[in-house]
């Protein structure tokens, strides 16, 4: 991997890569690293595992989705970190949480049989186990324009009153298949059901995360021109896909 040793540092934390990784979530970390390099920064990836001390000087946190079996271990560790992550979120640290970790960044996940797993409540959302999986291609309209991805979840997520969604569904199911909302936002923290991976195909969103991280750390975000023709092609292809 090329490095920009002269560039300004950015520290990216990959949350629970062993447990929460099944939907191409490493693609989001790779996209952050590459685009940071292409913009002239010197990114560093630090992984956080359950039970380990949380890294210091965090600029950006990325987390993904996992198996039900890995969720308990992760949820317990996350709850122990809850106050710290709230502080980071309130301090403007950029975060992207996909699928399982999006759910755990909400208030709770309640299974079909009524068991409840508490989250850390960054988002005022609650997730309920649903009868069937919501699976397929998704297009949602967000502040960064159209976002393309793929969803695969059985949890139905309901937004609390006043909780901002990340996007409005144009195709696919999103949070719950009913209210056309997708994901949630709190300050620079984004929760979404979209994988694909979501960031490579949505470079405006990817750069917004980097910009938030760089502004907070260095007070300025210097943007280099990046050739996103391939992302544009993949986006126009995604526009033609059915659910």
């Amino acid at each position: 991997m090329t490095t920009n040793s002269g560039g300004l540092p950015l520290r990216i934390v990959h949350l629970y890569p062993e447990q929460m990784n099944i939907y191409g979530d490493t693609g989001n970390v790779l996209t952050m690293v590459r685009r940071a390099q292409w913009h002239g920064y010197d990114p560093e990836v630090v992984v956080h595992h359950p039970g380990a001390p949380f890294p210091d000087d965090v600029d950006l946190i990325v987390g993904g989705g996992g198996q039900d079996s890995g969720q308990g271990l992760v949820a317990a560790d996350l709850r122990a970190l809850g106050d710290h992550i709230h502080d980071l979120a309130n301090d403007g640290v950029a975060m992207l949480m996909v699928c399982g970790l999006y759910q755990l960044f909400g208030q709770f996940f309640e299974t079909v049989t009524g068991e409840r797993m508490d989250g850390i409540g960054i988002f005022d959302v609650a997730t309920y186990g649903g009868p069937k999986r919501l699976v397929g291609n998704v297009r949602s309209q967000t502040q960064f324009g159209e976002i393309f991805g793929y969803e695969n979840h059985s949890g139905l997520t309901m937004l609390g009153e006043g909780q901002r969604p990340f996007g409005e569904i144009e195709m696919g199911s999103g949070n719950n298949g009913r209210d056309r909302t997708e994901g949630a936002i709190y300050k620079n923290v984004y929760g979404t059901y979209l994988h694909g991976s979501v960031l490579p195909k949505n470079p405006r969103f990817a750069d917004a995360l980097l910009e938030a991280a760089a502004l907070r750390r260095h007070g300025v975000f210097t943007r280099a021109p990046i050739d996103d023709q391939l992302a544009e092609r993949a986006r126009s292809r995604a526009r033609q896909l059915g659910v």
């Binding site: 099944i22 939907y23 490579p200 391939l230």
Partner: protein
């Protein structure tokens, strides 16, 4: 409901008619299944040596081919399903050509490759005498939901097995299934050992976080029946129990295929018992070539064109690793039809850095593949959605060529190559 024999006759008639019309093989199977829903179970129940079922995420087709060849070399008459016909009606359609005058399957034993998705229905109808569980890795999560769910499917196959189950000792998800089996069912293990061990990355190694296990931590809980203990190029050494066997030259590339060989040897040794002759089995294994689209090599104007099926992250990683040291002009064809997996997220879990450059990417998700390579800083000369046009681009290059492709892309590519070159062995 018609009698078994009657259903077989009608099926044969439909098969003849379907052939005249040039249509597919599934229809006669469907007709027979409708006429006699117990047809499959009845035909298989008559087999003197029973049924061997082979399942798991990766390597089913190649391992099935190996098991069939090993059993044939040992003198058994074997029925097997053709690649791709994993559904019960596909298996029935395949049987119609192998029935005797009384509608009985003319074979000693059936060796069947079962797709995880259809395995449950199959074992309910026709419990296998033996099953071979290869591995469980992430595959097509839009179909199966989660890896844990796939593990439960394989467990159900094992639980339906009446005599013996062979399990991959190196795969924790597979190994765990042994604990659920009733005491009366024999269990055996295959695996890798010695210098070969470190060649198998599991999904967790992808995340770069797992330290190499020390030998003590890694000490296996179970003695294995067959161990792949050495591999250098295609020269493989297997141990049966503690007895190292003479090295053999395999007919195909890849550490994963050498391990498939251990799996095949173990289940065949279980089936044959005292009748197993080690030298016969090893010689037969060495003569097995790659299965349909699984690393098979076609001669194009004097240089090889290899077709490598890739279906999921671990399979793609192993394939890239197997071929890393033999340079070739590379094409990657990614489709997103149902049989390929609709979700292309998995491409982000493959590390492509061993490829220096890629000549052409193609398929319905060519753009996603090109974008993926871009993020590994790998240059792509051509992005061409259409498979025929992409093949033209690749074929115009001199020297060795290699195509990594998903399932439906592989089928289409083989079809195009067949019409272009009219090569033997290409359907």
């Amino acid at each position: 409901v018609l009698s078994h024999r009657c259903a077989a006759r009608v099926g044969l008639l439909v098969r003849r008619l379907a052939k005249l019309r040039g249509s597919g093989t599934a229809l006669p199977g469907l007709v027979v299944e409708r006429l006699d829903p117990r047809f499959l179970a009845a035909a298989l129940a008559d087999l003197p040596e029973g049924v061997v079922v082979i399942t798991g995420t990766n390597g089913k087709t190649t391992t099935t081919k190996m098991v069939v060849e090993l059993l044939r070399a040992s003198g058994l008459k074997v029925f097997s399903n053709r690649s791709g016909s994993n559904f019960t009606r596909g298996i029935i359609a395949g049987m119609l050509g192998e029935l005797d005058g009384r509608g009985r399957l003319n074979a000693d034993i059936a060796v069947l490759e079962l797709d995880e998705a259809h395995a449950i229905q199959f074992v309910r109808e026709a419990p296998p005498r033996y099953s071979l569980l290869l591995n469980i890795t992430r595959d097509q999560l839009d179909r199966f939901g989660e890896v844990d769910y796939t593990a439960r499917l394989l467990e159900k196959v094992a639980l339906a097995t009446t005599t013996g189950v062979v399990l991959n000792r190196d795969d924790p998800l597979v190994r765990r299934i042994a604990d659920t089996l009733p005491a009366a069912v024999e269990r055996r293990y295959f695996g890798s050992g010695g210098s070969v061990k470190h060649l198998f990355p599991d999904d967790r190694h992808l995340y770069g976080t797992r330290p190499e296990l020390s030998p003590e931590q890694d000490s296996p809980d179970h003695a294995a029946d067959v161990i792949l203990s050495g591999l250098s190029g295609k020269s493989a050494t297997y141990s049966f129990g503690d007895e190292a066997q003479p090295a053999i030259e395999l007919g195909m590339d890849g550490v994963h295929n050498a391990l498939n060989g251990a799996a095949a040897l173990s289940v065949v040794r279980m089936v044959l018992g005292d009748r197993a002759a080690s030298d016969v089995l090893l010689a037969a294994l060495g003569s097995v070539g790659p299965a349909f689209g699984r690393g098979e090599s076609i001669d194009v104007d004097g240089s090889p064109l290899e077709i490598v099926l890739v279906k999921n992250p671990s399979g793609f990683r192993l394939a890239l690793r197997s071929y890393a040291d033999r340079d070739a002009a590379t094409m990657i064809a990614i489709n997103d039809r149902y049989a390929d997996g609709r979700d292309t997220s998995w491409l982000w879990d493959v590390d492509f850095e061993s490829l220096s450059d890629v000549e052409v990417v193609s398929g319905t998700r060519a753009d996603d593949m090109a974008l993926r390579l871009h993020y590994d800083n790998i240059s792509v000369a051509h992005v061409e959605d259409s498979l025929p046009a992409a093949l033209d681009t690749l074929l115009a290059i001199e020297g060795p060529k290699r195509i990594y492709c998903t399932y439906t892309a592989m089928m289409a590519i083989r079809g195009i190559l067949a019409s272009k070159f009219n090569l033997a062995g290409i359907q």
